[in-house]
C-alpha cells in the first residue's frame, strides 16, 4: 500500500496552481484525507499532485449576515470551532462534528470533502441543504457554481480541466428557522449509515412554513427534499414530525451496501428526519421568540 510515482508541485499562487493543473493527469491536493488512502491503495494514480497548501488567502472562514464563506484550506476542525460561522449557519459546526475523528479533522478540509463529492460525506449535503455554492478558479477566471450544478455523480463534479474550488459559500440560516443534524454510524466517526440535516422555517405566527431535509449516504448525489407538505401550517411545538419522516421515506432512493440495506436506510431517513425536526423546530421557536 504505497502510492504509485507522481510528480509534485506546491505553487505559491493560484495562477501557478492552475498552470500546473493544465498538465495531463494533474490533481489537486488539499487536506489529502480522502486522496491519500486512494493513492496508497493505488486506486488513484495522478501524474502530478498540485498541493494548494501554500496558496495564501484560502484558509479563512468569513461569516457575514448573508452566510459563511469557507476557504479551500479551512480544516474541518477550524470550521467546527468557528463561533461566528456557527452563529450564522449552525449546521456547519453540527455537521462537521460528525466528520471522522479529530486527527482527520485537523488535516481534512471542508471544501476538499465537497470537491471529493462523496455522497457519504457530510458537507456535500450541508452545501445542498443550505442552497450553497462553490467558487471555482479557472484560467479564464472565477466562477460560481451552485450545488445542483456542481454534484454530478458519486465522486464526480461538473468541473473539469484546470480548476480549483477556492471556497464554498453556505447561506445564513434564514430568520425564524432552526436546524439540526444527526447521523447513525456503525462506529463513532465512521461514514454514516445514514445522516440527516434539516432546516425548519416558521411563519410569524410560529407555524411551520417550510421544512427541508438532506441526507448523507442516501442517493448518489446530495438531494434536498421538501417536506413542507406534511406539516405546513402546524404549530411548531406540536407538528406531526412523524408525518414528515414518513414523507421523507417515500422521497429517497437509498442503496444497499455491506453495512445497511436500502430498506434500513429508508427506515433511518424517517427516524432521523423526525428526530432532527423536533430539535430544529425547537431552535426555530427559540429564534422566532428572540
Amino acid at each position: 500500500m504505497k502510492p504509485a510515482p507522481f510528480h509534485y508541485a506546491d505553487p505559491g499562487t493560484l495562477e501557478e496552481v492552475l498552470a500546473v493543473l493544465g498538465q495531463e493527469g494533474a490533481k489537486v491536493l488539499a487536506g489529502g484525507q480522502s486522496l491519500l488512502p486512494l493513492l496508497s491503495m493505488r486506486l488513484a494514480a495522478p501524474a502530478t499532485l498540485v498541493d494548494i497548501n501554500k496558496v495564501p488567502g484560502l484558509d479563512a472562514v468569513e461569516a457575514t449576515g448573508d452566510g459563511v464563506t469557507v476557504g479551500a484550506l479551512v480544516r474541518h476542525n477550524a470550521l467546527l470551532h468557528d463561533a461566528a460561522a456557527a452563529r450564522v449557519q449552525p449546521l456547519l459546526a453540527r455537521a462537521t462534528a460528525n466528520v471522522a475523528h479529530p486527527a482527520i479533522r485537523n488535516r481534512g478540509t471542508t471544501v476538499g470533502s465537497i470537491a471529493h463529492a462523496d455522497p457519504s460525506g457530510e458537507m456535500t449535503s450541508v452545501l445542498a441543504l443550505t442552497d450553497g455554492h462553490v467558487t471555482v478558479a479557472m484560467p479564464s477566471g472565477r466562477q460560481t457554481v451552485g450545488w445542483r450544478d456542481f454534484f454530478v455523480g458519486p465522486l464526480e463534479t461538473s468541473i473539469s480541466g484546470p480548476a480549483v474550488v477556492t471556497s464554498a459559500f453556505f447561506p445564513a440560516l434564514p430568520p425564524r428557522s432552526g436546524t439540526a443534524f444527526a447521523e447513525i454510524a456503525r462506529r463513532k466517526g465512521d461514514y454514516a449509515v445514514c445522516g440527516a440535516g434539516v432546516v425548519v422555517t416558521l411563519d410569524a405566527g410560529g407555524r411551520v412554513a417550510s421544512v427541508r431535509a438532506a441526507y448523507v449516504s442516501v442517493g448518489l448525489t446530495p438531494e434536498v427534499h421538501d417536506l413542507t407538505d406534511a406539516v405546513i401550517g402546524q404549530p411548531a411545538e406540536s407538528a406531526d414530525w412523524a408525518a414528515a419522516g414518513a414523507l421523507a421515506r417515500t422521497l429517497v432512493d437509498p442503496d444497499t451496501d455491506i453495512h445497511a440495506s436500502a430498506d434500513y436506510r429508508r427506515l433511518l431517513v424517517g427516524v432521523l428526519t423526525e428526530r432532527t425536526l423536533v430539535s430544529a423546530a425547537a431552535e426555530a421557536v427559540g429564534r422566532t421568540a428572540a
Binding site: L29, Q33, L36, I104, R107, G189
Partner: protein, 171 residues
Amino acid sequence: MTNVDIERTVTVTVNGVPREATVPVRRLLSDALRHDLGLTGTHVGCEHGVCGACTVLVDGDPVRSCLMLAVQVDGRSVTTVEGLARDDNRGGQVLHPVQEAFRECHALQCGFCTPGFLITIAAGLEKRDNTVELTEEEVDDMVGGNLCRCTGYANIKKAVHHAAATMRDAG
C-alpha cells in the same frame, strides 16, 4: 516557474531537532519518519488513516502521518513519540505524564498502537485547562479515533484520567 519534482529535500524540525532528508515526493510522512529519519516509534497499522497508530503532531496538532506526504512537512515541526519525554539534563529522561500513566494503568499490551494513543492523548491533555475536571466525553474524544486490538480500551481511558490528575497536581 513552478517546480514540479519527483524528488525533494525536506527540512523539518523533528522533536526539536532540525532534520533533513531527500525523498521521492510520494514518500508518506510515516515512512519518512521511520525509514529516512530512523524514528521507528511511529507505527504503521493500516496506511489508510483509520487506525491512528501513525499519529504524530504537525505544528502541535495530531495528524495521521500515513495521510501526509513527507514533502508537506517541509519547514514545519513534527513531534513523534520519541519526543514526548523531556531530557532531565542529567543524561536521562522525564517521561510525559501520559507515558507514566500508560505504564501505571497497564494501558498497553503489545504496544504497537501505543505511540499513536500517547501522541493524541498528550496533545489533548496539553491543550485543555487542566484545572477543570476531565469529562468522560473529553476522554472518549481523545481515545476514540485510534484502534487497539489488545486492551479493550478500559485501561487506556483509565490512563487518560490518571495523566490528567498528574498534570493537574503538577499545576
